[in-house]
């Protein structure tokens, strides 16, 4: 063996720390450039750290996260100087993995590491109070050292991953994720709530900025999804329960009854002609009608019929032999439940349109000729209720003048509404205005805006040309209120903020460019799959910049508008990102699990069962132990380490690894026991 190899072997050998030897803590106080050193004196913190019990060495460096910084720590570990590491620096969310790896590479168990966050918790928040910041930093270091002294080596667990993905929501985002994963060979369960996939994109006519026909680019993908062998398409279905954990989720899916045998139905549509019940069509947002037996729209996938039982009068006509030849009608169908095992989950549930009824000043719901942007989309659509020839709802005549109002329900810091920008409304209003002008070059079209946001590729050009080549009038100003004039025209009172003049305008039709909102049931979905939502109601990503498709729950990803407002290109990009993240995880075949789970001290546990019902994850059961009798037992794979059981146990019989009673207590006492 060469000298170098020998050296390497030596380094590789794990430094054996049983946890019983005397703790030797190394404290590494980071300057973090001027982030920390600019506010408090790091050398003084180092001096302070040296006075703490069991501290073998304390050092300062500019950036401990840098290679040189990491090596300083490694050398101390390898020279046997220390067996516990405390880094006083930034948030563990940033660099805990870095320093754990340092320990690991130096041969020390990675859980003998503790990070004191003296940046976010001290020098940043107390920037204007350096003395206070110094005291806070001292305390944080003291607490971390106290905990470090109590740390015990822990082992990482690995679990295998089921190579299958559950995708909730079959809009453009969900479909794209599904296709990517299926192509890579993973099994996909695509659960869509409505009878068809396609989502909102199916309702759009053309798509900005290229103006290709939405259906023309969407429907081939829908067919691809239906044809793909690896995709199990579960339309008209909902996920009702999710248990398990990354790699091994188990989902219960409810298939709602179609009341039409989906196998038998040939989609001929004869039943529709006979069904006597006429009701509003959701797909056309109430602008057109459908029968009680229906498909949402002609290109729906799968193209099989569904009876809407809320409106069906059970007259029995569609079940007649001469109506439904294949005898597919089943009035007494019951919901079916199926369980699937998946390794990953993608949430792509999309959005709801902001409901402008509450904004009384705009007359939506009161005046027939005030409509919202999505309704306008249906009116413009060649497959829509008016075959793409928009008319006013009041008299079905083509309007001579149309005004659009931007930011309805968005960018709103006062009355009820959302504070964020919905990102698509400037563009879709411009698109719709151009489409109308194409059909009616003489019409007057106005767009009232706060400022036009044309941030995407080709968007600025699209907007520029709308004014220049199409003669669309952009008026910068907020509309104070509208009223109804003669013949149901709409009288707008506004202020042109560029000219700084009040203005009044009479138009034939008024379109509210409503924003995108999180789904009304997003909260239920969030608690079902146990992910968080941000304050705007959309599902929360693990990190807004670096982990935009992950959630904080491992193995669960988000895609499309479910994560936040975005257009189709971005939805697709994110969907592909989510699919690739899910695939990356599944390709590894197994995941490492942080060993921060609950452990029972059998000698203390009295088997009262207090913890069993308290565990939201169903991780605890009472067992009969040969030695200790009835005691709690924890399924470590299910345990999330939340500590609910530990906090509730009178006997202190449950500890959480990494947060044991002793460790927490030593933090509280700062080592002064």
């Amino acid at each position: 063996m060469t000298e170098a190899k020998k050296e390497l072997e030596k380094v590789k050998k794990e430094i054996v720390v049983t946890g019983n030897e005397k703790p030797q803590v190394g404290v590494y106080v980071c300057d973090c450039g001027i982030n920390i050193a600019g506010v408090v004196s790091v050398p003084d913190l180092v001096k302070y750290a040296e006075t703490l019990p069991d501290v073998a060495v304390a050092r300062e460096y500019k950036f401990f996260c840098s290679d040189t910084g990491q090596n300083i720590i490694k050398e101390d570990i390898q020279s046997g100087l220390i067996n516990r590491v405390v880094v006083a620096a930034c948030s563990p969310r940033m660099h805990e993995p870095t320093f754990r790896l340092v320990c690991k590479e130096a041969g020390l168990n990675q859980f003998l590491f503790e990070q004191a966050n003296i940046r976010e918790h001290s020098t940043w928040v107390h920037m204007k109070d350096p003395e206070g910041a110094f005291e806070a930093a001292k305390d944080l270091i003291k607490m971390s050292v106290a905990k470090a002294r109590e740390l015990k080596p822990l082992e990482v667990k690995t679990v295998s991953i089921e190579p299958a993905c559950l995708i909730i929501g079959g809009g453009i985002a969900g479909m794209n994720s599904a296709l990517d994963l299926a192509t890579e060979g993973y099994k996909v369960y695509l659960v869509e709530r409505t009878p068809t996939i396609g989502g909102h994109m199916a309702q759009l006519d053309k798509t900005f900025p290229t103006m290709d026909c939405s259906a023309c680019i969407l429907t081939p993908r829908m067919v691809d999804v239906a044809r793909n062998e690896n995709i199990e398409l579960l339309t008209y279905s909902e996920v009702v329960e999710v248990t398990g954990y990354v790699g091994n989720f188990e989902a219960t899916i409810m298939k709602k009854p179609h009341y039409v045998d989906q196998e038998a139905c040939t989609g001929c549509g004869v039943c529709v002609d006979y069904c006597p019940v006429v009701t509003g069509n959701e797909f056309d947002l109430g602008l057109a009608t459908r029968k009680a037996i229906y498909i949402p729209f002609p290109q729906a996938v799968p193209g099989k019929y569904t009876i809407d039982m809320d409106n069906c009068i059970k007259c029995g006509i569609c079940a007649r032999e001469d109506v439904c030849e294949p005898d597919a009608i089943r009035y007494d169908e019951e919901p079916e439940y199926m369980k699937v095992k998946v390794g990953t989950i993608i949430i792509a549930t999309g959005w709801d349109l902001y409901d402008p009824t509450g904004l009384k000043q705009y007359g939506y719901g009161r005046y027939p000729n005030v409509i919202d942007g999505l309704q306008m989309e249906r009116l413009l659509s060649s497959t829509g209720p008016l075959d793409g020839k928009p008319t006013r709802p009041s008299d079905l005549k083509a309007p001579h003048s149309i005004a659009f109002l931007q930011c309805v329900g968005s960018r709103n810091f006062r009355e009820g509404g959302n504070q964020y920008c919905s990102r698509v409304c400037c563009m879709y209003a411009t698109k719709q205005a151009r489409q109308y002008k194409e059909k009616h070059p003489d019409a007057d079209v106005y767009i009232f805006y706060m400022d036009v946001r044309a941030f995407g590729k080709g968007y600025e050009e699209f907007y520029e040309s709308a004014g220049k080549n199409y003669g669309i009038n952009y008026i910068r100003g907020r509309i104070a209120e509208v009223s109804e004039g003669e013949d149901h025209s709409i009288i707008i009172r506004a202020e042109d903020t560029l000219l700084q003049e009040p203005m009044e305008l009479k138009v034939d039709m008024f379109v509210l460019s409503c924003g995108l909102e999180s789904r009304s049931d997003a909260g239920e979905v969030a608690s079902l799959v146990r992910v968080q939502r941000s304050s705007d109601g959309f599902f929360m990503e693990a990190h807004p910049k670096l982990r935009p498709v992950d959630t904080l729950t491992e193995g669960i990803f988000i895609a499309g508008v479910a994560q936040g407002p975005k257009d189709i290109p971005d939805s697709v990009a994110q969907a592909k990102g989510a699919a690739s993240s899910a695939a990356t995880l599944m390709a590894k075949g197994e995941v490492e699990m942080e060993p921060f789970f609950a452990v029972v001290r059998p000698d203390r546990c009295i088997g009262c069962g207090m913890c069993v019902e308290n565990c939201t994850y169903g991780a605890i059961e009472l067992i009969d132990d040969r030695h200790f009798g009835k005691i709690a037992s924890i399924n470590q794979a299910l345990c999330k380490g939340c500590g609910a059981c530990s906090g509730n146990c009178r006997c202190s019989a449950i500890d959480i690894f990494g947060f044991t009673g002793e460790q927490i207590f030593s933090i509280i006492m700062g080592g002064e026991l």
Binding site: S527, C608, G609, M610, V612, E613, G661, E662
Partner: protein, 336 residues
């Protein structure tokens, strides 16, 4: 009916049922009360022979909660072969509650016991009597008519029975054990409904936090941390009580007020939604500390917040055992 006649009837009921259960081999042993060796006390007794049935008594000093003798910390009643004995247990209402709650907490198997239900007519508060009599030694205490008669050296005193009852007994709504099919014999309550207005708590509840603090401080100040309250409590059955743990040492072992207070505070937390209101702790406290107030507060919160009373329904999940996202969180106060 006068108290002494009630007591005779109850005693007769106990003896009749005990005799029947033993004779018919429904149970192996009877757990009940017998006369104490000093006045103002009674003793628990286990009998297994029909001949001994007359040792069983009932009087208004049967303050021990007999359910305690079934919890795991106490050696299990077993025969020579090491099999668990079937126990008939004399049960006033609060013993019944304790048994039911212990079964909810998986500590006893109701199938293995017979509840001998009796209509409890109240427990005399020893502290109140001692406050009245002072240092003088008591030789004998008995009930006659509606009075308590106390005899001692140069002492013969008559006290009105109702005034010297435990405060708990005055508000008690579960004088007999809640009935459980095939488990209860004797007098048991069918589907008890608890309608407690907690009017006994009004005075305390109307105090300011500072006044409450002062009140509790005065109440607990003399505690010697003898743990008699814990030892007698049917709900204190942990293998290793938090006060005895040393990894970590949760709090100091002294009788400094902070340590006393921490002990009682944590114990109260451990009793929340669990205390069955038998008052045994107060009855045995050598310092005469009445923990009733703390226990009633817990009972009140459990009732008002979760509509739960411990030991009534063997199927109901106690609040501390259940996880519910919909629970009120109004106690989460925003700082202004």
């Amino acid at each position: 009916m006068v108290i002494e006649d009630q007591n005779k009837d109850i005693e007769q009921l106990i003896r009749d049922l005990a005799r029947k259960l033993l004779k018919e081999k429904e149970v192996d042993v009877i757990l009940g009360y017998t006369k104490g060796t000093i006045p103002l006390t009674s003793l628990p007794i286990v009998i297994d022979k029909v001949e001994d049935v007359d040792k069983l008594i009932w009087n208004n000093l049967c303050y021990i909660n007999l359910a305690k003798y079934l919890v795991p910390r106490i050696p299990t009643l077993m025969n020579e072969e090491g099999q668990k004995l079937k126990v008939g247990i004399v049960s006033k209402g609060c013993i019944g509650r304790a048994l039911i709650h212990l079964s909810v907490e998986h500590q006893i198997d109701l199938e293995n016991i017979k509840i001998i239900g009796i209509p409890c007519n109240g427990i005399i508060n020893r502290k109140k009597i001692e406050d009245e009599i002072g240092e003088r030694e008591i030789f004998e205490i008995s009930v006659s008519g509606d009075n308590i008669i106390i005899k001692g050296e140069d002492l013969e005193q008559t006290l009105p029975f109702n005034e010297y009852l435990n405060d708990l007994c005055k508000t008690c709504q579960v004088k007999s054990p809640p009935s459980i099919e095939n488990i209860c014999v004797g007098e048991c309550l069918e589907n008890p409904v608890i309608e407690d207005d907690f009017s006994d708590m009004t005075e305390f509840d109307s105090k300011t936090p500072e006044e409450k603090w002062e009140y509790i401080k005065n109440l607990l100040d003399t505690c010697t941390r003898c743990y008699a309250c814990r030892e007698v409590c049917p709900m204190c059955y942990c293998n290793l009580c938090f006060v005895d743990q040393n990894q970590p040492v949760w709090f100091g072992k002294t009788t400094a007020y902070s340590d006393i207070f921490t002990f009682h505070l944590i114990r109260a937390m451990h009793m929340a939604g669990r205390c069955v209101g038998c008052g045994a702790c107060s009855s045995v406290c050598p310092m005469g500390i009445d923990l009733n107030l703390i226990n009633r507060s817990l009972e009140k919160i459990a009732k008002e917040r979760f509509n739960f009373t411990s030991g009534i329904d063997p199927e109901a999940l106690p609040p501390m055992m259940a996880f519910d996202m919909e629970d009120d969180q109004e106690f989460m106060m925003e700082e202004d």
